[in-house]
Structures are given as structure tokens and as C-alpha cells.
Symmetry: C2
Subunit: 230 residues, 2 copies
DNA sequence: GTAAAAATGGGCCGCCCGGTCCACTTAATC
DNA sequence: GATTAAGTGGACCGGGCGGCCCATTTTTAC
């Protein structure tokens, strides 16, 4: 908030070195974008973000010239949480339990934030910090998979690509169901885990399927919103 | 093609009773929409369809006042194929084999036509014929599930909602991978079948996962196209 | 308090979209 | 071949979006 301009060294924190009001607006923009992206996904227009933040379009454009810049800034700390999830899983004394917990946690993140679901199934070559986090998480994920396989609970035919596929599939479910059937993703993850697991592996119970009426509501909602919009 | 106007009774076939050139344009519109929807999903604008068909926007609007009308007309016969898939599965002397074949066939349809993938995860209350087909297929699907469970190969905890979830998940995979990794959906279906199947059930071998480079290409493509667009 | 610099946002531009209207073209009928 | 009605598509309108410029306001520094 009150950062005297004397303590700013060039190329330090992003957003530091701005004038006080500029920094305040920057935060307002980030908060608005976070809200909109979480609710509607990355399809939200820049103009909408500016409106929601209560700033002019020009201000938004000046602070974040490209959409990727805004996305990168918004999902920076969430990406930290994403990377942290692997670390937590690696710290689990039971690698198989850590592995299942990890998949559950990541898919839960997708369900909680539609924008993040999009982010996880895309890549943003321009956003270096974001991609660094992702690469870092990926490396640790490979280690997690190896350890889980060594327990004998994770099947040998599982590959790290399966994680990406799960994220894509889960993004589809989360997008399609929205808040009309918000727990559907748990069922998907449950099924996938059952396929990943070796025959004798301990797996969490398969979550209940959503009520048919809820799924139907989701399908109607989709047709009203239009595909790919929200 | 050459239908004399004398043989048209009111409320007969949709599109019959039109003047010859009007009917020709109608076909051109349907062909164009089929092409665009298959390639890019239902997000395609009406204006684009008109352009692709080489007709004016007014012509398109007159023939298909609402987008639902166009969608319904385009996917009428594909919906027939969808309904037929259940019938074929029911005709299979081995219900379990019929069941797995059905899921595979339906998911393949989604992969072959992005628009159809959207259609299967939505509902169009306005399009009576389409919804009738869907309901009809659903009824037979319930029968198929019952028979498959009776073989003991399909787990008891499987529900018909799982089919919808699979379609939503598959739509996500198909949308995310596009033509960058076009066979990814097979892996997803393979995993899901493994979870649906009772321990001793015969299941098709798990298809190979796509190459990591292909998945990466898909993710890059997504970020360039934008979420929900194509 | 004042002057300089930084930041702002409203306005303008071109573009695409969906919807509607109407003068013109074309096919069907005799 | 002429008449008539069906059909057409270009034009126009209102609206949103992305990008840019510049007069105005606000903060900072003195």
C-alpha cells in the first residue's frame, strides 16, 4: 500500500514502483479479473474486466497490454498452490495416498475456479513465471508417479500423459455442469482412480453420481449459455 | 431434388414445398453448417454459416429463424445414427460387448464432429424431433445397461448418469485436443471402461496414450485459439 | 503552495455479430 | 413469352469488443 518510491529497485516485484493510486487500481483489476475468471472462465472480455473493476479500458490496457499478462498475474498465486499440491503429495509417507490426494486436490481446484481449469489445459509461452511453475510441478509429478508405481498400487500402464487427459476431461465436466451439478467431477475422478489403481490397491469409495435432474439442469443451462461461452 | 409442387401436403417434410432454388439454397446452408459445426463446434456464428454457404444473411434467417432450428436440422440424421447405435448394441448377442461398443461408438462420433459433441452435452427444448430421438435413445440405453449388469460384467455401482458424465468428459478432451492429438479420447474411454467393468470382465486393451509432444501442441493451440471458441 | 510528472478514462476507430427491411431477381404458371 | 408470386441479398441499425489517442485529474516532489 504505502511503499515509498525510494525503496523500489528496477525489475523487482511486478507492480511495485507504481504510483500509489496506480497500484490501487492494479489490485482492483486483479480482484475483478479473479472474480470473473473464476465464475465464467477465461472467455471473459477485457472490457468486462475493466467494467467490473470500475476502471477505464485504457487503464487496463496500459497495465496489462495482452490478455496473457493479466491471466499470468491473476493465476500466479494459484499456480503456487498448484505446485504446492505436488510437494504436499511427495511429503506423504504413503506415495499412493499422496498420488490419489494430489489428483483429487488438483481437480478440486479446477472445479472451484473455471478460469484455473482453463489455465491447466492450456499453456502460455509468453508467461514465463507461470510456465516455470508448471514445469517445476511437472517434474515433481513425475517423481510422485514413479514412487506411486513402486508401491505396486499404481498400474504400470499409467503415464504422466494420463494426468493431462484427466485435467482436460475434468475441465469438460466442470464446464458442462457448472453450478447446476457442482459435485459431478468427484464421480469422474473416482472412476479414473479406479482405472489407474492396481487390482489390490486401496482406493477411495466411488462418490455418488449426481441426481439426473441436476445433470439435466446442467444440459439446459449449457444450451442457453451457448457452447464455449460459459 | 425434383419434387413437383403438386405433391406437397402442408406440414409434410421440413423443407419440402419450397421453390427449387430455395431448396437448393437450403441444402447449401445445411452443408455449410455441417462443415463448420463439425470443425469448430456450435460456437460458429450464423453470419459465418451464411458466408460459408454463399447466401445472404437474410436467407439464412428466413430459413432458420433461430440457431436451434439450424442445429436441429443439421444434426437430425446424426441423431438418427446416435439412436441407431443403441439399437445395434441391443442387437449384440453379448450385452457387455454391446455396451462397450456403444460407448466407444458414441465417443467416436463426438471426436469426429465437434458440433455433435456439443449437442450431446446440451439439450434443445425447442427442437422436438431432436429431443424425441434423444429420449428414445435414452430409454433403450437404460435397457442396455440393465442387460449389461445382468451379465455380471458391468459393475452394480454404474448408473446411467455415468454415460452423461463420460460424454461431458469426452467433449472436454475432444475440444482440448482437437486435431493436435486426435486419438486422445480413446485413452479416456479405455480408462472409464476399466472402471465400469467388474473385476473379471473382458475389456478391450487400454489404448496407448498420445505422445507428450502432441498433447503439448494441443495445449498451445488452445491458448492461441482462446477458451471456448474452438 | 506550486509545478512537473504520472496516471486516468472517455471518446473514437474499425470490426463482427444478430436482426430486419426492401428493391431487385428468379422461378413457376398459363 | 408474359404475368405473378416467391425468393434473394445487400443495406441498415444497435450493440459489444479491442485498440489507441489525448485532454483532464491526481499524486508526487520541491
Amino acid at each position: 500500500m504505502t511503499s515509498p518510491p525510494s525503496d523500489q529497485t528496477p525489475g523487482q516485484q511486478p507492480g511495485t514502483g507504481l504510483r500509489a493510486d496506480a497500484e490501487r487500481n492494479r489490485c482492483r483489476i486483479l480482484a475483478a479479473a479473479r472474480r470473473l475468471y473464476a465464475a465464467e472462465g477465461l472467455g471473459v472480455s477485457m472490457a468486462s474486466v475493466a467494467r467490473e473493476a470500475g476502471v477505464g479500458k485504457a487503464t487496463l490496457s496500459r497495465r496489462f497490454p495482452a490478455k496473457d499478462d493479466l491471466v499470468a498475474a491473476v493465476f500466479a498465486e494459484r499456480m503456487d498452490a498448484y505446485a504446492a499440491a505436488v510437494t504436499i503429495a511427495l511429503d506423504d509417507p504413503d506415495p499412493w495416498h499422496g498420488f490419489t490426494g494430489y489428483l483429487h486436490a488438483v481437480c478440486a481446484m479446477q472445479a472451484a475456479d473455471r478460469g484455473f481449469a482453463d489455465v491447466l489445459t492450456m499453456t502460455f509461452p509468453a508467461a514465463k513465471a507461470l510456465e516455470a511453475r508448471r514445469a517445476e510441478a511437472y517434474d515433481r509429478l513425475l517423481e510422485l508417479i514413479t514412487r506411486a508405481k513402486n508401491t505396486g498400487h499404481l498400474r504400470d500402464d499409467f503415464t504422466h500423459q494420463d494426468v493431462v487427459i484427466l485435467l482436460m476431461a475434468n475441465a469438460g465436466v466442470v464446464t458442462a455442469t457448472g453450478d447446476a451439478a457442482p459435485d459431478t467431477w468427484r464421480r469422474l475422478v473416482g472412476h479414473m482412480l479406479r482405472s489407474y489403481a492396481a487390482p489390490d490397491a486401496p482406493i477411495p469409495a466411488l462418490p455418488e453420481a449426481p441426481r439426473p435432474a441436476a445433470l439435466y439442469r446442467a444440459m439446459v443451462r449449457l444450451s442457453r449459455t451457448g457452447p464455449g461461452t460459459a
